[in-house]
C-alpha cells in the first residue's frame, strides 16, 4: 500500500506543481505553456496560490502534503488506509466542487475550464482513495483492481451520466433559467411530440408516434426476414448458405446513407426503376419513396442482417434431440416446428424484435435521407439544433422522449429476457440432426429470402455503379470525376492532396485509429472486472456501463454539446471529444465481447497465477491478455469500423478543424451532390475492408506462429469473434 500511495502522492505533486491547472489556449500538447509557467493562465495550483495569492488552491495542496506526512509515519497500516480514504475522498470532492463553483467567481484567469493540472491531481486523489479501499478490502482484491474500478466509474460518470444529466436539466429549464416540472410535462406530453392526428384524418403525427410506429414495423419486419434467412441457413440443403452469411458482415461496414442513397438511385424520381415503369407502363414519376415507405424499406435492408445473425444462434440453439423426440412421437415436421421449435425460439425472437426496435428508434441516417415529411425523433432532435433557431431545450425534450423509449426497450430486454433463454449450448455433445422444414414452410422461406438477398446485393451493386455515373438519371455516361473531386491528388509541385474529401478522410482515419484501441481497452477491462472480480455494487456498475448502449447517438450528440461546451470541462471543437464519444458509445460492444471470451477462459487459470505470486495486473498481462487475442481483435475491428461509419453523434460534434467522413457526406447529400457522396462511401467501405483484412492477417500470422500453442483455446474463441458484431450499436 505504501509504495502505491507514495507513487500517487508524487504524481499528485507533479500535477499541483508543474502542470497548468486550467486549460491553456495554445493546447496542452504544444507545450508552449511550459515556457511561461508563471503566467496566470499557465500557472499550476501551487504557483497560483503562491504568485497570485489564490487561497482556494490551498486545500488540495495541504491534503497532499498531509498524505506525504502520513506515509512517512510508521503507524498502523489500517489507520493509514482509513486516512488515505478520507483524504482521497476530500481531495477529489473539493477539486470537483471547486471546478463547478468557481465558475461564478470573477477572479478566474481564463474561462475556468480545467486543464491538465486539475486532471492529474483529481486522479491522484482518486487513486489514493482506491489504494486505501484496497487495503481495507472494501472492494476488489488489490490496488490495481480498485483503481481500475474507480477509474471506470469516474470515466463513465463523467462521459455518460454527466452529459445525460445536462439533457435532463435543459429539458426542465424555463427560458429564464429556473427549473420546473410543469413546462417540461406540458412540452414532453404535447401534441407536438405525441400527436396522433394522422390516424384521425390529419396529415402529421408527432415524431414520437412516427418513431414508435416505424420501430414496431421494423422490429417485426427484420425479425421475420431474419428468421427466414436463419431457417434457410441452418435447416435446408440450400447451396449458397455460405454466401448468405456474408450478408451479416455488410451492415457493420456500411456507412449510413449508403442504403438510402442507393434506394434513391433505384426508386427516386430519377431512379432506374422509376424510369422503366414510366416508359413501360406510363406510371407517373413520384416522390413516394420519401416518407415512411422509404425509411421503412431502408431500415429493413439495414437491420435484417442483424436479426439474421442473432437468429442463427437461436435456431441452432434448439436442441436437435427435442425435435427428434417430437418426430418419434409421430408429430410431422410442421407440427414439430410449430409446437416444439418455435416456442423454444420465442425468447430469441423477442430479443431480435427488441434489437430491431431499438436500432430503428436510434437510426438517424436513413430518416435524414429518405424521411421527407415523415418526422422521427432522431432527425427532429438534429433539426432542433441545426435549424434556423437552435432550440436546445426542444432538442432536450425530444431527446428525453427518445431516451425513454430506448431505455424502456433496453430494460425490457434485460429484465424480461435476461435469464429466459431455453436454448443453451451445453458442454454435452448434442448429437442428432435438426429436423428439416416441411415443404410449404421451406418454400415460404425461399420465396422471401432469396429475392430479398438479391435485392440487397443489387442495392450494394448500385452504389459501386452509381459512383461512376456522371449525373444519375440525366447524364448516364461513365466518369471518374467524383473520385477525382473527392480524392484527387495533384502532382504538379510535389504531392498535394487536392480532393475535397481528403481532409475529412484523414481526420476520420486518425480519430478512428486513436479511438479503437482506447475503446477496446476500456471495454475489455470492464468485462474483466465484471467476469472476474467481485465487489460491492457490481450489478449497479454493470448496469451503468451497459446503459450507454441504450442511449441513441443523437442524444449522445446533444448531451455532449450541452455538457462540454462550457467549463469546467470544455471539449467541443477538439478531436478529443470525438474520440471520447466513440469510446463510450462503442464500449458496451467491447464489454459484451470481452464477457463472452472471458467466460470461456477457466477461472482457475487466473487463480493459479495468483497462487504463484503474480499480482492481478501481472495475471492480466501474462495470462489473460495472450489468451484473449481474438476477442481483442474483434473489439478493435468493431470500434474502428463503428468510428468510421457512425454519424448520429458525430454530426453534432464535428468542427471545421475536425470534420469527419460521415458528416462530410451528409453535407454533400444535403447539397444534392450524390455522386461524390456515393464515391466517398465506396472508398470508406474499401478502407474498412482493407483494415479488417489487415488486422486479421496480423493476428492470423501470430496465430499461425503459435498455432499449436493455443490450439484448444483458440478454437473455443473463434466463434466468439462474431459475438461483438452480433451486439447492436445504436
Amino acid at each position: 500500500m505504501n509504495k502505491t500511495a507514495t507513487l500517487w502522492v508524487a504524481i499528485g505533486f507533479l500535477g499541483l506543481l508543474f502542470l497548468p491547472w486550467y486549460s491553456v489556449d495554445t493546447g496542452f500538447w504544444s507545450f508552449q505553456w511550459a515556457l511561461a509557467l508563471n503566467n496566470l493562465e499557465n500557472a499550476s495550483a501551487i504557483l497560483q496560490s503562491v504568485l497570485y495569492g489564490r487561497g482556494w488552491f490551498s486545500p488540495p495542496i495541504i491534503l497532499m502534503v498531509t498524505t506525504a506526512g502520513i506515509l512517512c509515519l510508521r503507524t498502523n497500516q489500517d489507520n493509514k488506509a482509513k486516512q488515505l480514504i478520507v483524504i482521497g475522498a476530500l481531495g477529489l470532492g473539493y477539486v470537483i466542487a471547486h471546478s463547478f463553483l468557481s465558475l461564478e467567481s470573477e477572479l478566474l484567469p481564463s474561462n475556468g475550464a480545467v486543464g491538465a493540472g486539475a486532471f492529474v491531481t483529481s486522479f491522484a486523489f482518486l487513486f489514493l482513495l482506491t489504494t486505501g479501499l484496497a487495503h481495507m478490502r472494501q472492494v476488489g482484491s488489490d490496488a490495481f483492481i480498485t483503481g481500475l474500478i474507480g477509474t471506470i466509474i469516474v470515466l463513465v460518470a463523467t462521459f455518460v451520466f454527466f452529459p445525460i444529466s445536462h439533457v435532463l436539466i435543459r429539458a426542465f429549464e424555463y427560458p429564464d433559467g429556473s427549473l420546473g416540472i410543469v413546462r417540461f410535462l406540458s412540452r414532453i406530453l404535447s401534441g407536438d411530440v405525441w400527436g396522433i392526428s394522422c390516424f384521425t384524418g390529419g396529415d402529421h403525427c408527432g415524431p414520437a408516434i412516427n418513431s414508435l410506429i416505424l420501430a414496431v414495423a421494423t422490429g417485426i419486419g427484420t425479425t421475420a426476414l431474419g428468421l427466414s434467412f436463419a431457417l434457410i441457413a441452418t435447416r435446408t440443403q440450400f447451396r449458397a448458405k455460405k454466401t448468405l452469411r456474408i450478408l451479416t458482415v455488410l451492415p457493420i461496414i456500411t456507412p449510413p446513407f449508403v442504403i438510402g442513397l442507393s434506394l434513391i438511385l433505384l426508386f427516386g424520381r430519377a431512379g432506374v426503376v422509376t424510369d422503366w415503369l414510366n416508359i413501360l407502363f406510363e406510371i407517373e414519376k413520384s416522390r413516394w419513396l420519401y416518407g415512411f415507405t422509404g425509411v421503412y424499406l431502408s431500415q429493413l435492408l439495414s437491420f435484417t442482417p442483424i436479426a439474421f445473425l442473432v437468429l442463427i444462434g437461436v435456431v441452432e440453439g434448439v436442441s436437435p434431440s427435442m425435435e427428434e423426440a417430437s418426430l418419434t412421437m409421430r408429430a410431422n415436421r410442421w407440427q414439430t416446428f410449430s409446437n416444439v421449435s418455435l416456442p423454444l425460439m420465442k425468447p430469441g425472437l423477442a430479443n431480435a424484435f427488441l434489437l430491431g426496435f431499438i436500432e430503428s428508434l436510434a437510426d438517424f441516417g436513413n430518416p435524414l435521407v429518405l424521411g421527407g415529411d415523415f418526422n422521427v425523433l432522431s432527425t427532429e432532435i438534429y433539426f432542433a439544433i441545426v435549424g434556423a433557431v437552435a432550440d436546445t431545450s426542444r432538442a432536450a425534450v425530444l431527446g428525453i422522449a427518445l431516451l425513454t423509449l430506448t431505455v424502456a426497450a433496453f430494460l425490457i430486454q434485460r429484465r424480461w429476457l435476461g435469464n429466459k433463454s431455453y436454448t443453451s449450448v451445453t458442454g454435452k455433445g448434442d448429437s442428432g440432426q435438426h429436423s428439416g422444414l416441411n415443404p410449404a414452410l421451406k418454400w415460404a422461406c425461399y420465396l422471401t429470402s432469396i429475392p430479398w438477398a438479391i435485392f440487397t446485393l443489387i442495392i450494394y451493386g448500385m452504389i459501386v455503379y452509381g459512383s461512376f455515373v456522371s449525373l444519375w438519371g440525366y447524364d448516364n455516361s461513365f466518369t471518374l470525376k467524383h473520385y477525382q473531386q473527392a480524392f484527387g491528388i495533384d502532382f504538379r509541385d510535389g504531392m498535394f492532396l487536392s480532393g475535397s474529401a481528403w481532409d475529412s478522410f484523414l481526420t476520420t482515419i486518425k480519430i478512428a485509429s486513436l479511438a479503437a484501441p482506447l475503446t477496446a481497452l476500456v471495454g475489455l477491462l470492464t468485462a474483466y472486472l465484471l467476469v472476474r472480480q467481485n465487489f460491492k455494487g457490481k450489478s449497479v456498475f454493470e448496469f451503468g456501463t451497459m446503459l450507454s448502449f441504450a442511449i441513441p447517438g443523437t442524444v449522445v450528440g446533444i448531451s455532449y454539446i450541452l455538457a462540454f461546451n462550457v467549463p469546467p470541462i470544455e471539449l467541443t471543437g477538439t478531436g478529443l471529444i470525438l474520440i471520447i464519444a466513440f469510446m463510450f458509445r462503442n464500449m458496451p460492444v467491447g464489454v459484451r465481447g470481452g464477457i463472452a471470451a472471458l467466460s470461456q477462459l477457466d477461472k482457475s487459470l487466473d487463480e493459479a497465477s495468483l497462487m504463484l505470486g503474480a499480482t492481478s495486473f501481472t495475471t492480466l498481462r501474462r495470462v489473460i491478455t495472450p489468451l484473449m487475442g481474438p476477442a481483442i481483435l474483434a473489439a478493435l475491428i468493431y470500434s474502428f469500423v463503428r468510428a468510421i461509419t457512425s454519424v448520429s453523434a458525430v454530426i453534432f460534434l464535428v468542427s471545421a478543424e475536425h470534420n469527419m467522413a460521415t458528416s462530410f457526406i451528409v453535407g454533400r447529400v444535403e447539397n444534392g451532390e450524390f455522386g461524390i457522396a456515393i464515391a466517398y462511401s465506396v472508398v470508406l467501405i474499401l478502407t474498412m475492408l482493407a483494415a479488417i483484412t489487415f488486422l486479421q492477417m496480423l493476428v492470423g500470422r501470430r496465430k499461425l506462429r503459435r498455432e499449436n500453442r493455443v490450439s484448444d483455446s483458440n478454437r473455443i474463441y473463434s466463434r466468439e469473434i462474431e459475438q461483438p458484431i452480433k451486439g447492436t450499436a445504436l
Binding site: A608, M611, R622, S713
Partner: protein, 355 residues
C-alpha cells in the same frame, strides 16, 4: 492460539455467500510436514475451506495463520501457499518450462536460477525432456505432474490439492496419488488434500478431517476414523457400516450389553455413553452361519451377489436389513435360507444417534 509446529491453523473460520453459510466455526490445524485430507460429501465445504487457506476467498469471520503469521487479510498473491487445481489450470499458451517457472518469473528471479530450479522440479516429477511441449501435447497424468512441479517450485509453506486426481482414470489415480505422497514426503511439505473418495483419503493422509454441512464431523488418523467412529455419520461415511437401532441394557468398563429387537448382543462401548445410541458394524465384520451361535441375529437371506473375490448378502432381520460382505466364502448361502449373523463383539461399536 497457534500451536508451535502447525504450518497452517484456522480458528473459528466462518464463510457466508450471501445468505448461504458454507462454513460454520471451523477450527483446524495442519501440522508441519503432514498431509491432511478434507473428506466429506458433496457441498460440505471442502473446496471453500481450501480456497480460504489459499486466499482466493476471504473468510467472513475467524483467523488464519500460516506459520506464525496472521494472513487473514492477505491476498493469494502474497501468501506463501501453492495449489494444484482440479483442472490443472496449466497456461495453454506457455510450454512446460514456462509454466513451471512462472512463479519465479513473476517474482523476477534471475533467469539462470529460474531455469535450474525448473529443471530440478521437472526431474523430480519425471518429466525431463518435456520442457518444450505445450500442455495440450501432454497426457492427463503428465499435465497433472507439471501442475505439481509448478506448485512446489516456490517451496510453499503449504501445498493445496483440490481433488487432483478426479480427471484421471482409475488405474492412473492409484499411481499418481503414490507419487504425490512421495514428493510431499521427500520435500517435507505440509499439504491439504481435498477429495471425496475415502479410499484415496485413507491412502495419502496422515490425518483425515471429515466435514459435514460446513463443520468438522470428526478428525483423526485413518485408523481412528475407521475403527472408532464417533458418530453415525462417520461410521456410515467412512466404514459403510450397518447402523442398527438398539437399547442399552448394561455397561461394564468398555463393554456393553445391548438389546436389538429381542436379542441381546455384546458390544464395544464408547467413552461417552448416552441413552440414545445405535449399533454400528462394518459389513465385513459380520459372519454368517446356519447354526445358532451366541451374539448373533437371526435372519433370512434376501439377496446374494457373487463378485468373484467376495460375496455380498442382504439379510432380512427383525432389526431391519443388514448388509454383509463375506470374503472367505467357505459356504455360499442361497436366497431364502434362514441363517444367523454373528456380530464380532470387538468390532461392534456404539455410536450416538444423529439429531
Amino acid at each position: 492460539m497457534n500451536s508451535e509446529n502447525a504450518s497452517v491453523s484456522l480458528s473459528n473460520i466462518k464463510k457466508c455467500y450471501g445468505t448461504v453459510t458454507a462454513i460454520e466455526n471451523l477450527s483446524l490445524e495442519i501440522p508441519e510436514g503432514e498431509i491432511v485430507t478434507l473428506l466429506g460429501p458433496s457441498g460440505c465445504g471442502k473446496t471453500t475451506t481450501l480456497r480460504i487457506i489459499a486466499g482466493l476467498e476471504q473468510a467472513t469471520g475467524g483467523e488464519i495463520y500460516i506459520g506464525q503469521e496472521n494472513v487473514t487479510h492477505q491476498s493469494a498473491t502474497y501468501r506463501n501457499v501453492a495449489m494444484v487445481f482440479q483442472s490443472y489450470a496449466l497456461f495453454p499458451h506457455m510450454n512446460v518450462l514456462e509454466n513451471v517457472s512462472y512463479g519465479l518469473t513473476v517474482s523476477s528471479t534471475p533467469k539462470k536460477t529460474r531455469k535450474e530450479k525448473a529443471f530440478r522440479a521437472l526431474e523430480m516429477v519425471g518429466l525431463t525432456g518435456f520442457e518444450n511441449r505445450l500442455p495440450s501435447e501432454l497426457s492427463g497424468g503428465q499435465q497433472q505432474r507439471v501442475a505439481v512441479a509448478r506448485a512446489v517450485i516456490l517451496e510453499p509453506d503449504v501445498l493445496l490439492f483440490d481433488e487432483p486426481l478426479s480427471n484421471l482414470d482409475a488405474k492412473l489415480r492409484r499411481h499418481v496419488r503414490e507419487e504425490i505422497r512421495q514428493i510431499q514426503q521427500s520435500l517435507g511439505l505440509s499439504a491439504v488434500y481435498v477429495t471425496h473418495d475415502q479410499e484415496e483419503a485413507m491412502a495419502v493422509s496422515d490425518k483425515i478431517v471429515v466435514m459435514k454441512d460446513g463443520a468438522i464431523a470428526q478428525q483423526g488418523t485413518p485408523t481412528e476414523l475407521y475403527e472408532q467412529p464417533q458418530s453415525e455419520f462417520i461410521a456410515d461415511f467412512i466404514g459403510d457400516a450397518n447402523i442398527i437401532p438398539c437399547e442399552i441394557e448394561s455397561t461394564s468398563g468398555n463393554r456393553a450389553v445391548v438389546k436389538v429387537s429381542s436379542t441381546t448382543l455384546d458390544s464395544y462401548a464408547a467413552k461417552h455413553i448416552s441413552k440414545d445410541m445405535k449399533l454400528s458394524i462394518q459389513p465385513r465384520n459380520i459372519r454368517l452361519t446356519h447354526t445358532y451361535t451366541p451374539n448373533s441375529l437371526a435372519g433370512r437371506v434376501q439377496h446374494s451377489t457373487y463378485l468373484g473375490g467376495h460375496m455380498e448378502y442382504l439379510i432380512n432381520t427383525d432389526a431391519g436389513d443388514i448388509f454383509v460382505v463375506d470374503a472367505e466364502m467357505n459356504e455360499k448361502y442361497q436366497k431364502g435360507e434362514s441363517i444367523h449373523a454373528i456380530f464380532e463383539a470387538t468390532k461392534t461399536i456404539l455410536v450416538p444417534v444423529e439429531q
